[in-house]
Symmetry: C2
Subunit: 366 residues, 2 copies
């Protein structure tokens, strides 16, 4: 810590970009001017040199290890966020304009996947919780899949409405594609069930600006004349180094992955995430002031929306929370009230502080 | 500086990602754990909050100020590097597969623009220096433009072969599109001559992972059904915040732009860049050991390739240079020998150290 500077780190409940582990930021700070024996910052390094090549290889190996990625899957690091994948995925997997993309519609992100998918194929909504403001995940028994669909798309956790899959779908006759942006690495996943998994980094993986894609190799190369940057097969062949990658974002990703491993891996983080979420939901359910709109079987461990009995209390709640060092709690306008995003990097101490604050606020205003 | 840590920063002649101003890295280090009164790192901030919004707005305003961008141009910050622009630009500017893209072919980057452009239109090479290993820039009088071309593309500086435009082309009857990745902000440019200017950040603007596009507004909206992330008109309308932008890269970009302004702006940097390049070319021309393959009227101020009279001396040159703290001098395999990239952030002290080393090496080995 810099001499004479009093740091005042807050508990940051942002939905994304989101809190990072303090240890990661401290290491990044220590290495900012000189990485190892390189004489320069990671930001200044050629991506073809030995230092960055080692960072890149380490990030790739850690993804495979922590997620248990089978050998017949390619791991890609791309740019443009999940929003670009809404186009890249149909460009790579749809081979004919008349094919159908099946989508399970569970919120704003699946809505965007639908809108972009329609530019490349027919899109069939095979299940939806829209009628209940996306407050639950439709069971697989309620799906009406299209035979021979190009692929079948789910959003494994809904950041805005706070609904999460607590079961892994059966793939069926079409490759299962999952946007895991907001719960990746928060719980073990059986990668072999999926044709393709993708995730923007800025919730559980690192800073914004790098996007993870894990794709079964047999799905590569369906469309030969794609622009190279959009082509998963070219990116796989070039190990995501076709052009200059977002080097600093990948360096931070590597540090986060090392931190995940040091915590005991994804299974250990899952236990911690369950404990954090359970504590917050219990506090909400026990209170007379707070309530959570999400159906109990679909409640997200990552994003926990809750409303106050009186909307007039929202402003004082947010102001007093911020004064107590609890920030970015304002809910998305489509749900209202509050939202606490408690990704991997949120410590139990942050949840404890929030629960204590909520109880105290209720005592004074409830 | 951390107590007890001896920093050993080198002079980094990397072609990109490249050296950044030390003051920028020092500020990034100081703010890594807590940006202003936010209680968090810039990497952890929601892009919709007041702190990041101010960073983003400041970066946008500084680009306009430093480049003198007219009001009828949009400034975009995108992801994917210049390589993605090789596809995005024809997707946005070509309206019919039978149209023609004119390209002035001056090296590896124009070659890639040609290859990607052919996926969307006819591509006509209207001038080329390929027959001379791209060692010069063809004069505009040698161009054979296609009447009614969708656009006319140049690469303002060739990173690999070290040839740079020292004149600004006349636009003619088609919008002039320029890949300025490797000399942007190194010299004043009359933006109004161009329909579109683009640049990956990792040479003169900041870290990799953010791409600048400056585009005349009347060129927007030609193709209505593009994927939103690729659509310049949507990106302009959303002020490049359609989805989560690469926030940390934009923060560093802002710091670099502030540094450029503090140096006296682009005109002042141009004078320094001329002095740096003149000194290095003079040393090469005066020596019996070193020579530069680039035609004198096209010699780049940013990337200076030079060969040694005896290729057997390449390995000792690189090893001794590295031991002297002068790194990343190995030339690209298509030219051989050495390449010194001396972007804005390379101080005169670095050029002096290189020139001194070269003279000493010649004395011992020449």
């Amino acid at each position: 810590m810099n001499e004479g500077v009093i740091m005042a780190r807050v508990f940051n409940f942002s939905a994304g970009p989101a809190a990072l582990p303090l240890a990661v930021l401290e290491q990044a700070r220590a290495e900012m001017l000189e990485y190892q024996d390189s004489g320069m910052s990671v930001m200044e390094m050629t991506h073809r040199g030995k230092h960055f090549s080692a960072i890149h290889a380490s990030a790739m190996a850690l993804i495979r290890e922590l997620m248990g990625v089978p050998d017949d899957y390619a791991v890609l690091l791309m740019q443009g966020g999940a929003s670009s994948q809404f186009a890249f995925i149909p460009m790579n997997l749809v081979t004919d304009r008349n094919q159908t993309i099946d989508v399970v519609h569970t919120g704003m992100w699946s809505k965007k996947a639908i809108a972009e998918g329609r530019k490349f194929a027919n899109v069939q909504v095979i299940a939806s919780s829209e009628e209940a403001n996306f407050s639950y995940i439709p069971a697989q028994s309620e799906w009406t899949p299209t035979p021979g669909a190009a692929y079948r798309h789910i959003t494994s956790n809904n950041t805005i409405f706070g609904a999460e899959y607590h079961w892994q779908p059966e793939a069926g006759d079409a490759p299962l594609v999952a946007d895991m942006s907001s719960n990746i690495l928060s719980r073990p996943v059986d990668v072999s069930r999926y044709g393709l998994i993708y995730a923007g980094a800025q919730k559980n993986l690192g800073p914004s600006g790098v996007t993870l894609v894990v794709v079964r190799k047999e799905l590569l190369g369906r469309n030969p004349d794609l622009p190279q940057m959009f082509d998963f097969s070219v990116q796989a062949e070039k190990d995501s180094m076709l052009n200059t990658p977002p080097t600093y974002a990948i360096y931070i990703l590597k540090l986060v992955l090392e931190w995940v491993k040091a915590q005991g891996g994804v299974a250990a983080l899952e236990q911690r995430n369950i404990a954090k979420a359970d504590k917050l939901y219990a506090a909400i359910d026990a209170s007379g002031l707070y309530s959570c709109p999400t159906r109990v079987d679909s409640r997200s461990r990552m994003n926990i929306p809750f409303t106050l009995a009186d909307d007039a209390l929202n402003a004082p709640f947010l102001a007093e929370a911020e004064a107590a060092g609890l920030v970015n709690l304002k809910g998305h306008r489509s749900v209202g009230g509050m939202r606490a995003s408690i990704y991997n990097a949120m410590e139990m101490a942050g949840v404890d502080a929030l629960v204590d604050f909520m109880a105290d606020f209720e005592k004074r205003h409830g």
